[in-house]
C-alpha cells in the first residue's frame, strides 16, 4: 500500500481539470476540441469520485467511475457522429457556424 494521497490534493486536481475543461468548452471554436474538453470535464468528475471513494473507504466512488467511463465512451460515439454531420452540413468545424437557431 502506497502512502495515501491526501484527499485535498485529489480534489484540487479534480477542480483544476474541471476548470481547464470548462475554459476549453467556452473558448474553443473547433467542435473537436470542444468534445475533448468535455471529456476532460468528465475525467475531473471521475477523479473526484475515486478520491471520495478511497477517502471514505466506500466502493461507490469506483462504481460511479466505471459508469462515467461507459457513459463517456457512448458520448464520444454520439459526439463524433454529430461532428461528421456538422461538417457535412456547414462545411466547417467552427461552432459559430451553427447559429441558425438565433432568436
Amino acid at each position: 500500500m502506497i502512502a495515501a494521497i491526501p484527499m485535498e490534493h485529489a480534489l484540487l486536481l479534480s477542480a483544476t481539470l474541471m476548470a481547464l475543461g470548462l475554459v476549453g468548452v467556452l473558448v474553443r471554436r473547433n467542435i473537436l476540441f470542444v468534445l475533448l474538453s468535455i471529456e476532460i470535464m468528465l475525467n475531473a468528475a471521475g477523479v473526484a469520485f475515486v478520491a471520495a471513494g478511497s477517502g471514505w473507504n466506500q466502493t461507490d466512488g469506483e462504481v460511479m467511475f466505471i459508469f462515467i467511463l461507459a457513459m463517456a465512451a457512448s458520448e464520444v460515439a454520439v459526439g463524433l457522429a454529430l461532428l461528421f454531420q456538422f461538417r457535412k452540413l456547414f462545411g466547417t468545424l467552427d461552432t459559430r457556424a451553427a447559429a441558425t437557431m438565433k432568436g
Partner: protein
C-alpha cells in the same frame, strides 16, 4: 316501430358526421350515397313510425321517447326526449319527405360544384336539427334545434363564400333572425321563472292553471315567443332577410327558405297554442302581422325581376297567411297551409332552379321566356305548383287557402279588415304567380338551345307535383264532397276551432269568390306580360318602391345600421380594449427580450449552464 324514432334524428346527423369527417376522401358517388341515403333512410323510418302511430287507437295522446338527461341544476331539469304527437308527426313527415326529394334534386343541381360534400354535410345537419326542433318535447331542446337551423341557414346562404355579397346576405339573415331569437330566449327564461318547467306539455298544463287569461304574464310570454317566430318566419317587421337569403344555392332556398325552417315560427305558435290562447291581445297581433305581411310581400312579389326573389316574397306572403290563420284560431288550417306550402313552394324553387340551369345561370325573368316547349315536364310541374299557390282546385292549396279565408270571414276573433287583406292577397297571389309563369314559359323563345336538366333534377319535380295534388285528398271542402281527414287528425292536439254559423250558401260563395279573385289576378298577369308591354319595363314610382320591398332595407339602414356603426366609430378607442391590447403588448415585449438570449452561439449556452450550476451550488453551500 316507434322505438326507432330516435333514428329519424340520428341518421341525418350521422350523415353529417360522416361527410364532415370523410367527405373530401370519398368519391362523388359515395358522397351522394351517404348524403342522400341518410335522409332517405330517415324518411323511411319516419313513415313507418307515423304509420304505427296512426294505427294506434286515437286518444292515446303523445308518444314520448326519453333519450337521456341533458342537465339537472336545482329545479331545472332538462331531459332530451323526442315527442311524437299529431302536430310533430306532420312536421316530421314534411321535413323528411320534402327534404329527401330536395336532396335527390341537389345531386343533379350541385353536380359540378367542387364543394359538393360540404354542401350535403350542411344539408344533412340542417335536416337533423330541424327534426330535433319539431320532435323536441322540451323548450330547451327546441331552442337548440331553432338556433341550429339558423346556423345551417347562415352556412348555406353563404355557401359560395368567394362572392362577398353572399357572405353579406348570410350575415344579414343571421343577425336579423337573432333579433327575434333574443325575444324567444327571454320568453323561455320568463316561462321557467314563473312556471318552473320548460317541458312543453307541463308548460301547457301549468300555464292555464297559474296564469289568468289575458293577464300581463301570459301576454308578455306569448309576445316574446311571437318575437322569435316573427324573426324566423320572416314576418313584419323582420322580413328583410329572406329575399337576400336567395343568394344560397336553389335547393337551399327550397328546403330551408320555403319548406321547413321559415315555417318553424308557425310551428312554434301552434306548439305553444295553450299559451297563446291565454293572450287574446297577442293572438290579434299575430293575425294583424300576418295580414299586413301577406299584402306587403304580395305587392313586392308582383314587381320583382329576379325569379327567386319573386318566390321569396311569395313565401313571406304565404307565411303571412299561416299567421293570419293561427291568429283567428284556425289552427289546423294554418298547419295544413304549412304542409301544402311545403310541397308547392319547394316545387316552385326546384322548377326555378331548372329554369336558371336551362338559361345558363340567368335569374332575370325578362331574360327567360318561351321555355314551355324546351322543358315540358318542368312546365307542367311548375304550372301545378303555381295553381296550388294561387289556390286553384284541384290542388291542396285550394283547400288550405279557402279554409283560411273562411275562418277570416266568420271567426269571432276576425275583423273585416283581415278578411279584406286575405282576399286582396288571393288576387295578388294569382297575379304574381302567373306573371312569373307567363314571363318564364310563354312568349317567344329567347334561348336557342336551353340546357336540359339531368333526370335526378326532373323526377323530384314530378313527385312533388303529385304531392301538390295528393294533399288535396287529405282535406277537401265538405260541400264539394270531401272529408277533413287532416283537420280531424290535428284537432286532437290543437285547441278546437270555433264552430261557426254556416249558411247553405256562404261556403260555396266564398269558394267562388276566392277562385274568381285568383283568376282575376291571373288575367291581369296575362295582360301585363304581353310582349308589347314587357318591352318598356322600367320601374318607376310605386313600382320601384315595391321592388325595393317597401323601403324596409333603406329604413333599417338609416335607423339601425348607421347609428350602430356611428356608435362603433365613436368607441373605436374602447378603454376596455386597452387592457387587452396592453396585455398583448407586454407579452410581445417579453418575447423580444427573451429572444435576444437565444444567440445561437453554443459557447454562450455552455457558459450560462456553468454559471447557473455555480450559482445553485453557492446557494446550497451558503444555506447549509
Amino acid at each position: 316501430m316507434l322505438d326507432l324514432l330516435w333514428l329519424v334524428v340520428a341518421l341525418p346527423l350521422a350523415g353529417f358526421a360522416g361527410l364532415a369527417l370523410l367527405g373530401p376522401l370519398l368519391s362523388r358517388r359515395a358522397v351522394s350515397a351517404v348524403g342522400v341515403g341518410s335522409v332517405g333512410a330517415a324518411m323511411v323510418v319516419a313513415l313507418a313510425a307515423a304509420w304505427t302511430f296512426i294505427e294506434r287507437h286515437p286518444g292515446h295522446g303523445a308518444w314520448v321517447q326519453p333519450l337521456w338527461q341533458w342537465m339537472h341544476v336545482g329545479s331545472l331539469d332538462v331531459s332530451l326526449s323526442l315527442c311524437l304527437d299529431e302536430l310533430s308527426l306532420v312536421m316530421m313527415l314534411v321535413i323528411t319527405v320534402v327534404g329527401f326529394f330536395i336532396h335527390v334534386y341537389s345531386i343533379g343541381y350541385m353536380a359540378g360544384d367542387e364543394d359538393y360534400s360540404r354542401f350535403l354535410a350542411y344539408m344533412n345537419l340542417f335536416v337533423a336539427l330541424m327534426l330535433l326542433l319539431a320532435l323536441a318535447d322540451n323548450l330547451v331542446a327546441l331552442y337548440l334545434g331553432w338556433e341550429g337551423v339558423g346556423l345551417c341557414s347562415y352556412l348555406l346562404i353563404g355557401f359560395w363564400y368567394r362572392d362577398a355579397a353572399n357572405g353579406r346576405a348570410a350575415r344579414k339573415a343571421f343577425i336579423v333572425t337573432r333579433v327575434g331569437d333574443a325575444g324567444l330566449i327571454v320568453g323561455l327564461l320568463l316561462i321557467f321563472a314563473y312556471l318552473g318547467t320548460l317541458n312543453i306539455q307541463d308548460v301547457l298544463v301549468r300555464a292555464p292553471a297559474q296564469w289568468a287569461a289575458g293577464g300581463a304574464l301570459a301576454t308578455t310570454a306569448a309576445a316574446l315567443l311571437l318575437a322569435g317566430a316573427v324573426g324566423k318566419s320572416a314576418q313584419l317587421p323582420l322580413q328583410v332577410w329572406l329575399p337576400d337569403a336567395m343568394a344560397g344555392p336553389t335547393p337551399v332556398s327550397a328546403l330551408i327558405h320555403a319548406a321547413t325552417m321559415v315555417t318553424a315560427g308557425v310551428y312554434l305558435i301552434a306548439r305553444m297554442n295553450g299559451l297563446f290562447v291565454l293572450a287574446p291581445a297577442v293572438m290579434t297581433l299575430v293575425s294583424v302581422i300576418g295580414a299586413a305581411t301577406l299584402v306587403i310581400a304580395g305587392f313586392s312579389a308582383a314587381t320583382q325581376r329576379d325569379i327567386k326573389r319573386v318566390i321569396a316574397y311569395s313565401t313571406i306572403s304565404q307565411i303571412g297567411y299561416m299567421f293570419l290563420a293561427l291568429g283567428v284560431g284556425a289552427w289546423a288550417a294554418g298547419i295544413f297551409h304549412v304542409v301544402t306550402h311545403a310541397f308547392f313552394k319547394s316545387l316552385l324553387f326546384l322548377g326555378a332552379g331548372v329554369l336558371i340551369h336551362a338559361v345558363g345561370g340567368e335569374q332575370d325573368l325578362f331574360e327567360m321566356g318561351g321555355l314551355r316547349r324546351a322543358l315540358p315536364t318542368t312546365f307542367w310541374a311548375f304550372l301545378i305548383a303555381a295553381g296550388a299557390l294561387a289556390g286553384l282546385p284541384p290542388t291542396g292549396g285550394f283547400t288550405s287557402k279557402e279554409a283560411i279565408v273562411y275562418f277570416a270571414s266568420f271567426s269571432p276573433q276576425s275583423h273585416w279588415l283581415l278578411l279584406a287583406a286575405a282576399l286582396l292577397g288571393v288576387f295578388l297571389t294569382g297575379l304574381y304567380t302567373f306573371r312569373m309563369v307567363f314571363l318564364a314559359f310563354m312568349g317567344p323563345p329567347r334561348h336557342e338551345h336551353p340546357h336540359r336538366a339531368p333526370a335526378s333534377m326532373v323526377w323530384p319535380l314530378a313527385v312533388l307535383a303529385l304531392g301538390c295534388l295528393a294533399t288535396a285528398a287529405l282535406d277537401w271542402p265538405a260541400d264539394l264532397g270531401g272529408r277533413a281527414v287532416f283537420s280531424d287528425f290535428l284537432d286532437r292536439v290543437l285547441p278546437p276551432a270555433a264552430s261557426l254559423p254556416v249558411g247553405q250558401w256562404t261556403v260555396p260563395a266564398l269558394q267562388i269568390a276566392g277562385v274568381a279573385l285568383s283568376l282575376a289576378g291571373i288575367a291581369v298577369a296575362w295582360v301585363i306580360t304581353r310582349p308589347a308591354r314587357v318591352a318598356g319595363g322600367s320601374a318607376a314610382g310605386l313600382r320601384r318602391f315595391w321592388l325595393a320591398g317597401w323601403g324596409f332595407d333603406w329604413l333599417y339602414q338609416k335607423a339601425v345600421v348607421r347609428p350602430l356603426l356611428w356608435v362603433v366609430w365613436m368607441d373605436r378607442h374602447d378603454p376596455v380594449d386597452r387592457v387587452y391590447t396592453g396585455l398583448a403588448r407586454s407579452a410581445a415585449a417579453g418575447h423580444r427580450a427573451m429572444a435576444r438570449a437565444q444567440s445561437g452561439q453554443i459557447a454562450w449556452y455552455a457558459l450560462a449552464i456553468a454559471a447557473g450550476a455555480v450559482i445553485v451550488m453557492t446557494i446550497m453551500v451558503v444555506l447549509s
